[in-house]
Symmetry: C2
Subunit: 532 residues, 2 copies
């Protein structure tokens, strides 16, 4: 045997822990900080998403102000202020100064954030690129003073480091949060902050957003509805979505005394009857203690949980935008559009997770070209997705539809062309993103299928509008032709019948107008069998 | 103001830490555990990559055995044993039972692993899908006993939990590691373990790998060279690749007493002269204390470090396969191929990181179709990449080449077609992967450029071979035609000249063979100006 030149003892000296902050500092592209343009968007997005989540959960109509100022070259000051409930003093440093910290990861409930990484990653990016600390001002009670923190992340420990802390600095009216940071960024009009805010306004019609762009432009995205959506409920995991290790852990940690009670208490959609049935399929005693199940028994239990007929998970954990609300938003954002249709599908389930798809089609947008690809606005839990469109389930679903059937041009299986925007929204307690930066939805077959059905439904509405428009155009042209010749025809008939030409022409014209209005009222000969 | 229904205090109760294990358990697809087929591959890949890294660093010729056994339905037992240096007793639990732990993250040095996530993620996936613990047997000294651990990960804490620990269980001959785990998986011949091991054998010609496939097949990938490559050296960061926050941290933590010494000691390629120059450009005193630099001074320093002319980083941190070694591997793996060319480009730099590209083209592989796309074998630091080909820099570079110029068929800017394999290897102290699962290389322009140049170089060799082959074929056909008619021509000439036909035919034939051999010896009229 050759003696190793470097031994296991030598290696041991180099083996050490890597903090999650160090990991993401080196791999910041995984969080979406690939380039300065995207970084500027990420900074605004993470803060605004958090503000909307907080306002919604506290049942406050959101009023958010975003300000971006170009300090020098590629350095920008970003400030986001909300009227949410604020964050208690003790939690501010950890929420902003520690990766993997938050309130949303451990709950199964629809929210914009789900990982506990977003805003602290922006703080880390800010200090990495500009060496600056982040300023956070929080006020949780009108009667109390605001709290100001200046903080950075100690990346070796993944812990917040407070540089400065003061009471009552630059107070916030009412309650809320303001966060201010300097970052290396780049501003551009498209696929950046402007698009993000516009689309956020579409998917959150109850939010008011004011925006001061770095080029000096000030704009406001007003509310189009004055009511918050019903708050989504937290749910438990569904038996169809559970894995061995999770079931094992649940069994070990439950406070339920019997297996039957365990199944009812720990999972969604399982009642006493279903629970008994699962135990029968698994050939297990419903009265046994959950902690006493052995390996093979857990395997049997898991198998039975997949085999038993279990009701679908409850869907009150979902908060779709709503057909009417989405229509109002779209009318506000696309005031010149010829036609708008929106629809919300019934909830469905993928891998035990309930989800819901909504679609809107806006057609005849004056500023869009006839022969350019339609724009696809992708939304997940009301958050616009602006990058990685090619890798997203929405794009795959859109390409897999024969849009010619619905009146749009399409070459091969590409995105269709036309002066239209297609909005696709997926909401779920757990959206399967393909990366931490949450830019694209994974192409699970169940999700693709629902997206396609939703787009086809909306497509039929579009097709009905377009064929109505075409028929109206045809009828108009026919009338114009008849009218053009009616004088001549009338005088010929007058010659033949020896009656006055004027009268005949009048009668002809009234016949034409009657006929054409009858045509208009004809049965729809295209479109779907269902009503409009 | 509306009083929030849920206050900041309510939120505070839910705000808590998320362990990295919990995070990746829920997001296991980010680590490559998307489906059972890929999971089986990942389990083998992470273990074999670690074995190769350890053997190479300890300067031991690797001898690795991979065994996969189908236990029942979708459950497989995976066992990987190596003859590396082993792991000391104290470190075994953390290496295998803690995510983000290892020896490679904090060093800038070419290695297969770089994150400290891989093998512990497999342990986590194993316990999640089968509830099983992982068995690790380690021996660091022939004179001492083997150590056996059975362990799982406590995902809430991201700490190892030892189930059982014994001396001298199933001893390992010499030194080394054996890891055994049960996982939910699926076995298939292509894009799985078989392909991975075959390609690993190509990129590690010094390794011997024995493989017992789940279908009972046993195979061995022997060594094609008997010497390890020179070990890559650890390097320091290059001034061109540094960011504000990193520079700030370096300045605070350095033991150097002056700015000038700091630059020389902490960065690669900076000598006294360059260091002085950087200080001059930054208008900073070279004798000032590094800890005393203020914010604006750090900004100036950073700017100067980018502006100054600094030598390229040293390239002894790189360990390419080598032209000859790669050729030997390819000859061994594709014994029936008509033509093989390999080349290693000189090292280049992206964002301050040195890297090197190697390419091999194998043409005329009997089992491949003429009209199918060529196979692209993608390698990063000697590790085969089997998924996400479409998102990889190698594929982008290959599509961006006009392959018709090099004798391959190609429609549009697709991958070319033909009975060929193109091998592309990138080695670097830091390979920019697009995800934690390390399946594709990010498309940085500097990397794409080098890959294209390498493929074009190899393409010219291929083109030379193919045009030689074509010319030889043309000449052969010409001779055949001449020969077919030579009898007739000879008898016609005989009639005209009244000389004996036999003699004339003989002379004609010798003329033909002289001519064709002259043609063969002609100057190369196609191919590149450089020599073969």
């Amino acid at each position: 045997m050759i003696m190793p030149k470097k031994t296991a003892e030598d290696f041991a000296k180099q083996q050490k822990e890597i903090s999650i902050s160090e990991f993401f500092e080196k791999n910041k592209h995984l969080l979406g900080f690939d380039n300065p343009t995207k970084a500027l968007l990420m900074a605004v997005k993470e803060a605004v998403d958090n503000s909307l989540d907080a306002c919604e959960e506290a049942e406050i109509l959101p009023d958010i102000t975003v300000k971006i100022k170009n300090l020098k070259e590629d350095v920008y000051k970003v400030s986001i202020q909300d009227n949410g409930p604020g964050i208690v003093k003790e939690q501010v440093p950890r929420i902003f100064g520690k990766l993997l910290y938050g309130s949303k990861f451990h709950r199964l409930r629809q929210s914009r954030g789900q990982q506990g990484i977003g805003i602290s990653a922006v703080v880390m990016y800010s200090q990495l690129t500009t060496g600056s600390s982040t300023r956070v001002i929080s006020r949780t009670d009108e009667k109390k003073k605001s709290q100001m923190f200046e903080l950075v992340i100690d990346t070796k420990k993944n812990e917040p480091e407070i540089i400065k802390q003061e009471d009552d600095a630059d107070g916030i009216p009412g309650t809320g949060i303001r966060v201010e940071m300097d970052i290396l960024g780049r501003y551009r009009k498209s696929q950046g902050v402007d698009d993000y805010l516009k689309q956020t306004s579409i998917s959150n019609p109850f939010a008011k957003i004011s925006y001061h762009a770095p080029d000096g432009t000030k704009m406001t995205f007003p509310r189009s509805v004055d009511q918050l959506p019903p708050p989504p409920k937290e749910i438990k995991i569904h038996p169809y979505g559970v894995e061995f290790g999770i079931l094992q852990r649940f069994l070990a940690q439950t406070s339920s005394r019997t297996l039957q009670a365990f199944l009812v208490n720990e999972f969604s959609s399982v009642g006493q009857q279903t629970s008994k049935e699962i135990c029968i399929i698994a050939k297990l005693d419903p009265n046994m203690k959950p902690q006493e199940l052995e390996r093979e028994q857990i395997e049997k239990l898991l198998g039975a949980m997949q085999k038993a007929k279990v009701q679908r998970p409850p869907t009150d954990c979902l908060s779709p935008i709503g057909e009417k609300e989405l229509e109002k938003s779209l009318k506000k954002e696309y005031p010149g559009a010829e036609f708008i249709t929106t629809l919300t599908r019934a909830p469905e389930v993928y891998r035990g997770n309930p989800f819901q798809i909504e679609v809107g089609i806006i057609y005849g947008i004056p500023e869009m070209k006839q022969d350019a690809p339609v724009e696809i606005v992708r939304l997940a839990n009301r958050v616009p997705l602006l990058y990685q469109a090619g890798a997203c389930a929405t794009t795959e679903a859109a390409k897999d539809i024969d849009w010619k059937r619905y009146g749009l041009q399409q070459s091969g299986s590409n995105v269709p062309t036309g002066p239209a925007v297609i909005v696709v929204h997926m909401c779920s307690a757990w959206v399967p993103f393909i990366s931490e930066s949450k830019e694209a939805i994974a192409s699970y077959p169940d999700i693709i299928k629902e997206m396609k059905l939703a787009m086809q439904d909306a497509g039929r509405n579009l097709s009905r509008y377009l064929s109505g428009k075409r028929r109206a155009g045809d009828a108009k042209r026919r009338i114009q032709i008849f009218e053009r010749y009616s004088g001549e025809v009338a005088s010929s008939i007058a010659l033949l019948t020896k009656k006055p030409g004027k009268d005949i022409e009048k009668k002809l014209k009234s016949m034409i107008s009657q006929r054409s209005s009858m045509k208009e009222g004809d049965k729809n000969d295209e479109g779907s069998p269902e009503g409009a």
